[in-house]
């Protein structure tokens, strides 16, 4: 391995004194992890790319090569466009609601309320519970005879009661509500940590100038946690594209594809339907969208810094 200090190593070295002993090569240290991750993942991506040009059921020994036919099918598949629409709606709604809830909870718990830890635990417990564990009870809560309808009729809104998951128009909102329930804890804990780093004196000064709670929140707190907001936006984009567990377990992508996401659609096509080639083409699209989303938000985040 070359041992001359490169430009990068030179920059990292302490300035203002002679170079100490040369740094040994780091390659042997990163290779185990690098080969494991890059090997497994890029192998799979390459393989997926190859399969996406086949008409294959996953088991037959002689898959038939069809070129870009699967991609052509994809762009004309209304369900594919449905999944894109659901993903966009899902991202916007869950991100906005989680941000609003997370900031509000964090600000409230920074305001010397009683029993702060109890509230923290209640908000955060959903994060540690597996979506798979919670799915049966959510199916029950939103069913025709479920607790949600009981509550509605108890508070005099019985006319709104209906089978929430069985109706196309309300199934997606229910999926989003469950996701918000599960992930607000993360948003909250990140904003809570970010707010501990805001200078108390600025807050005091604003208060002396007569700013009320709401004004302090929107004019001082919100701009100061912008870095967290951008990081969460990126996590939400990737999370929305990865969505699988909740729609698969709670509503099976239905009714009538109303809660179908790319993840559930790829699973359905690849495993039960065994149109492996088409599933791979969808996977490649998902991969491109994920990378594009991450890069778009990543670059915005870097510009801000």
């Amino acid at each position: 391995m070359a041992r001359q200090p490169s430009a990068a190593a030179g920059r990292a070295a302490p300035k203002g004194r002679g170079r100490g002993p040369r740094r040994p090569s780091g390659l042997p240290w990163i290779l185990p992890g690098f080969i494991f991750v890059v090997g497994l993942i890029y192998y799979c991506i390459g393989y997926t790319g190859y399969i996406s040009t086949l008409n294959w059921d996953g088991v037959s020994p002689n898959p038939q090569s069809v070129g870009f036919h699967n991609y052509d099918t994809l762009f004309h598949d209304p369900v594919f466009w449905d999944t894109i629409r659901h993903t966009v709606i899902f991202f916007i709604v869950t991100f906005v609601v989680q941000t609003a809830l997370g900031v509000t909870f964090a600000a409230l718990l920074h305001s010397r309320v009683k029993l702060p830890n109890l509230y923290k635990v209640i908000i955060f417990v959903p994060v540690v519970l597996a979506p798979a564990t919670m799915a049966p009870i959510f199916r029950q809560i939103f069913s025709a005879t479920g607790q949600f309808n009981t509550i509605l009729s108890d508070i005099g809104l019985g006319s709104l009661a209906h089978p929430w998951l069985a109706q196309s128009s309300t199934a997606l909102p229910v999926i989003m509500a469950i996701t918000i329930w599960e992930w607000t804890g993360v948003t909250f804990i990140l904003y809570f940590a970010a707010m501990t780093q805001i200078d108390r004196e600025i807050l005091e000064a604003a208060r002396i100038d007569g700013a009320g709670g709401f004004k302090v929140l929107t004019r001082i707190v919100w701009p100061n946690v912008r870095g967290t907001t951008i990081a969460l936006a990126m996590l939400s984009v990737i999370g929305a594209l990865k969505t699988f567990d909740v729609p698969y377990l709670v509503s099976l992508g239905g009714p009538n594809y109303a809660t179908e996401f790319l993840g559930t659609f790829i699973y359905r096509i690849s495993i039960p339907t065994a149109e492996v080639g088409y599933g791979a083409a969808l996977s490649v699209m998902l991969l491109i969208l994920s990378l594009a989303g991450a890069i778009a938000f990543g670059i915005r985040g870097m510009k801000r810094n």
Partner: protein, 262 residues
């Protein structure tokens, strides 16, 4: 953040907060209530009597522990290399790994499935452990590299002047000083591995390998949709997770904020 000097505003804030957390508590209460309806504790006895619950737990524990060990070892080695040693074109290696950060696991399904079947790994722990670890390492390396960057270079230079080689430095400096971030990584990996559903769903087929995330669906087939028993099985799987969180609350919260704070 909000004004709490007057008693009235204190009470208002407390009431707002309490109303806002009710929806977060509600599904958990509904879950316990539902699991006790019908035959009451009999639901739990029926679930336990099938005798498979400890097996599912054991499988989840083995898989999570294996993923944690792989992620921890490979991450520590790589973070040291990336942060403090000389690597030509290091950022290229780094970004190649980071690209995997955005990867949805569903994309890996078909290639993993046909590869696992060919290698005879289908319905074994390996089929779930290896991809899970590979998907967790990029973020862990990102966090740990940032953390190791914060350890002063002088410390490493001094150790080298004293004749320590890279292995000694790794053992004596990196391992002890990275303990805070290591705890965060262990917790993040634990949540990711323990709660994963898709890979076990596709690759594990018998109770001798299946994880607890598959337990509810297992009971759906076992009790032909007797909802109360399915929910009782879900409560049983939720309890250890809640206890683990309550015992290690600080670590869980620090684990999740580790990436966002400098």
């Amino acid at each position: 953040m909000f004004e709490t000097r007057r008693l009235s505003s204190k009470i208002i804030l407390q009431v707002i907060l309490t109303i806002m957390v009710i929806p977060f508590l509600f599904p958990l209460i509904a879950m316990v209530q539902e699991s006790l309806s019908g035959q009451g504790w009999g639901n739990y006895r029926a679930v336990w009597a099938l005798g498979v619950v400890p097996e599912f737990f054991r499988n989840s524990a083995i898989i999570a522990a294996s993923v944690i060990v792989i992620v921890y070892v490979l991450t520590m080695l790589a973070a040291y290399g990336f942060s403090k040693l000389h690597i030509r074109a290091r950022e290229i290696y780094f970004w190649m790994m980071l690209a995997a950060l955005t990867l949805p696991e569903v994309v890996l399904l078909t290639p993993l499935f046909s590869t696992a079947t060919r290698l005879g790994l289908y319905n074994t722990y390996y089929a779930v452990v290896l991809p899970l670890a590979a998907l967790q390492i990029p973020f862990a390396v990102l966090l740990t590299r940032n953390f190791v960057n914060g350890i002063p270079d002088d410390l490493f230079d001094a150790a080298r002047v004293d004749g320590a080689n890279a292995a000694v430095i790794f053992w004596r400096i990196i391992m002890p000083l990275t303990r805070p971030i290591a705890a965060a990584i262990v917790i993040l990996t634990l949540i990711g591995a323990w709660n994963d559903y898709l890979l076990p769903l596709v690759f594990l087929q018998t109770p001798s390998t299946e994880t607890i995330t598959l337990l509810p669906s297992y009971f759906v087939s076992e009790f032909s949709d007797d909802q109360t028993k399915v929910v009782a099985s879900a409560v049983i799987t939720a309890i250890p997770e809640i206890i683990a969180y309550l015992c290690l609350q600080r670590l869980f919260e620090r684990g999740l904020t580790a990436g966002a704070l400098k």
